[in-house]
Amino acid sequence: MRGNSNTARPTIFIVDDDAAVRDALKLLLRSVGQAVETYASAQEFLEGYGEDRPGCLVLDIRMPGMSGLELQQKLNEKHSILPIIFITGHGDVPMAVEAMQAGAVDFIQKPFRDQDLIDRINQALEKDGANRAALGERNDIRRRLETLTPREREVLDLVVHGKANKVIAGDLNLSQRTVEIHRARVMEKMQASSLAHLVRMVLEVGQV
């Protein structure tokens, strides 16, 4: 585990079989202050990449052995959220379309203007940051949910379904006072600022 995913510095991962293109890209991205790692093949990247590392993947669509598209598929199977920018040649539009349908954030044709690539990379990094933040928040909510007792969980479920305390007391065969105490504990443990916040958090992790 490589530290907290929310705070680690994003890295641009370049996968291209052409050494010159790889090296030139590395120099370009270094010139704008980005952290860069280069890989000569899809296989090499799969072996070297830790899934929690933030950043984005700049991926050549055509490579001997495992192609860019195949690598994308493998990452998808692993539920990777790393955004992918494909580098394509002329006449690779059908492949680019396929890549976009499989969830790539963008593609760019060779040769390209440096600013176009840098802009796309920045957008991808922004998206990755947001994705990872959202992912982090959901993980927090899940952790908080896990701290609830079974009785508190029962109360929570009924609360988010909009039931009043009196109804909940009747359903669970408890006193209204006891329900109020459980409800206060739930709000505290879930760090909810309001009932609306609580509902939104539970919906966020899909546990309604």
Binding site: A20, L27, L28, K110
Partner: protein, 515 residues
């Protein structure tokens, strides 16, 4: 002839002469006939009886011209009469050839000599008749055979000669040899090499001199094709074969040779070859057309690197946060990548350029290396890996580099197309050079594609047969004719474990010829 016998009585001598005369007559191979001034036969010897089928007794007193058919029969009378009237001593002549007639009426070739018996009056004559049927037949056969030979030489446009070095016999030129050398029949003969000396094409001269020297020094036969300049200025191709025979001391006694005018054949061959070269060139252009996307990609790679390096340099300079070394290194890369793009274009150009076909001594592995860049271009574009397996002994071949590369590239392209449906991980081509059981150089292109359909194998090398949409169906047909023109063969077989293997061979070049 006078026989000198001393002290022999007159009568005994006459008897002895009579017996000797009879013995001579009996032993004679020729027919001998004696006749008088009116042509009446007085004597016919045994040989004459056998030759004409008469008994001597039957013909005595009959006219001698019964031994001749017309018109000789009447002529004989005229001759005799003329002789008697003119008194010319040799009018009947010696060794005249005519037809004679047997008792059964059949005729035969004969040589006739008639002479007068000296000291007789009225004159008496003796005739000698020789049956020359066998000789005449042999002569006739020889004439016919010579005539046929001349016709055959005319048809073949071939002449032959015999040169006698020991001076015992006259040199021989067949009539058609004059024609082959652009001379008129009957021109004075000055020796075959005296003619050729002036006629051999300057470009072929060294080779011709060498072959001639070898013939005379080594005793091996000469077998050489060269050009001659005819007296009328035209250029002809001749095939010259010659052999020598030697005396026991090694001296050359005789040289026999043939000169065959092969101009027409050579022209037809040259035209066929030019046509084949043009088709091969067409094949290369169409291969390049099929590879256009891959080639564009291959040029695009260095261009991308160049653009990116240049833009990175600008940024590094602008932000001031870079070393001179870093910029210099990037500029180096830019230069190298520009050359790389240029190299793709250069190889492409040299592959499709219409050029003179030239066979050179080449390293078979170099051929593979040289074609690899173009092959990789296409392979990379289709996610195919190429594995090289070079023969360790670096065999040499005599070949036109571009044409052989065309064959390899064509096979690689087919392999790539055959693998488009298989998963990328399996897309692999093995390029191999090896030496086969006969010592020839064997090239192999093996793939993991769909393989060759058993039904397609028979048609695979036919022109216009194709299994590819948009294919010309010429690739394999052209490849096979290129390989055949190089003296090799091209075939395919299944690849154990799936796919196809294509092989072709080129004849090995002996190491000594490698220089």
């Amino acid at each position: 002839m006078t026989l000198l016998r001393v002290a022999e009585p007159q009568e005994e001598r006459a008897h002895r002469l009579e017996r000797e005369f009879q013995a001579v007559l009996d032993a004679a191979v020729d027919a001998v006939v004696l006749f008088d001034h009116e042509g009446r036969i007085e004597l016919l010897n045994h040989a004459g009886e056998r030759m004409f089928g008469y008994n001597e007794q039957e013909v005595i007193g009959l006219k001698v011209n019964l031994l001749l058919p017309e018109p000789y029969r009447s002529q004989q009378d005229d001759y005799l009469r003329h002789y008697i009237e003119a008194g010319e001593p040799r009018i009947i002549g010696i060794g005249r050839e005519l037809l004679a007639k047997r008792s059964d009426g059949s005729e035969f070739s004969a040589e006739l000599a008639v002479g007068r018996v000296q000291g007789t009056d009225p004159p008496r004559y003796v005739g000698f008749i020789r049956d020359v049927t066998v000789r005449r037949n042999a002569e006739e056969a020889l004439r016919r055979s010579e005539g046929q030979l001349t016709i055959a030489q005319e048809i073949a446009n071939l002449g032959n000669y015999v040169v006698h070095y020991d001076g015992k016999f006259e040199d021989y030129w067949s009539p058609h040899l004059y024609r082959v050398l652009g001379r008129r029949y009957g021109e004075p003969y000055i020796g075959v090499y005296d003619y050729l000396e002036q006629m051999v094409h300057p470009s072929d001269r060294a080779r011709w001199m060498q072959a001639r020297a070898d013939l005379h020094s080594t005793g091996r036969s000469m077998d050489i094709e060269y050009r001659v300049l005819q007296p009328d200025g035209s250029v002809r191709h001749v095939h010259h074969i010659a052999q020598t025979s030697r005396a026991s001391d090694g001296r050359i006694v005789r040289e026999v040779g043939t000169l065959h005018d092969i101009t027409d054949r050579r022209r037809a061959e040259d035209e066929a070859k030019q046509m084949q070269d043009r088709i091969a060139h067409f094949g290369r252009i169409s291969t390049m057309g099929e590879m256009a996307a891959g080639i564009a990609h291959e040029v695009n790679q260095p261009l991308t690197a160049i653009a990116t390096y240049a833009q990175a340099c600008q940024r590094l300079i602008a932000c001031g946060d870079s070393s001179k070394e870093e910029i210099a290194a990037a500029l180096d890369h830019i230069g190298a990548q520009a050359l790389r793009a240029g190299e793709v274009i250069r190889r492409l150009r040299s592959f499709v350029k219409n050029r003179e076909v030239r066979r050179e001594l080449l390293d078979a592995n170099r051929l593979l290396d040289d074609v690899l860049m173009l092959a990789q271009t296409d392979a990379r574009h289709h996610g195919v890996r190429i594995v090289l397996q070079r023969c360790a002994s670096a065999p040499q071949v005599q070949a036109d580099a571009v044409q052989i590369q065309q064959v390899i590239l064509n096979l690689v392209r087919n392999s790539i197309d055959a693998m488009l449906e298989v998963p990328e991980g399996r897309r692999e081509i093995v390029l191999r050079t090896d030496i086969d059981a006969e010592g020839d150089i064997e090239f192999m292109v093996a793939d993991r594609g769909t393989g060759v359909d058993a039904l397609a194998v028979a048609e695979l090398f036919n022109p216009f047969f194709t299994t590819k949409p948009g294919g010309t169906g010429l690739g394999l047909s052209i490849s096979r004719s290129i390989v055949r023109a190089h003296g090799g063969k091209l075939w395919c077989s299944a690849n154990p474990g799936g796919g196809a293997r294509f092989f072709f061979t080129l004849p090995a070049v002996p190491a000594t010829a490698g220089g």
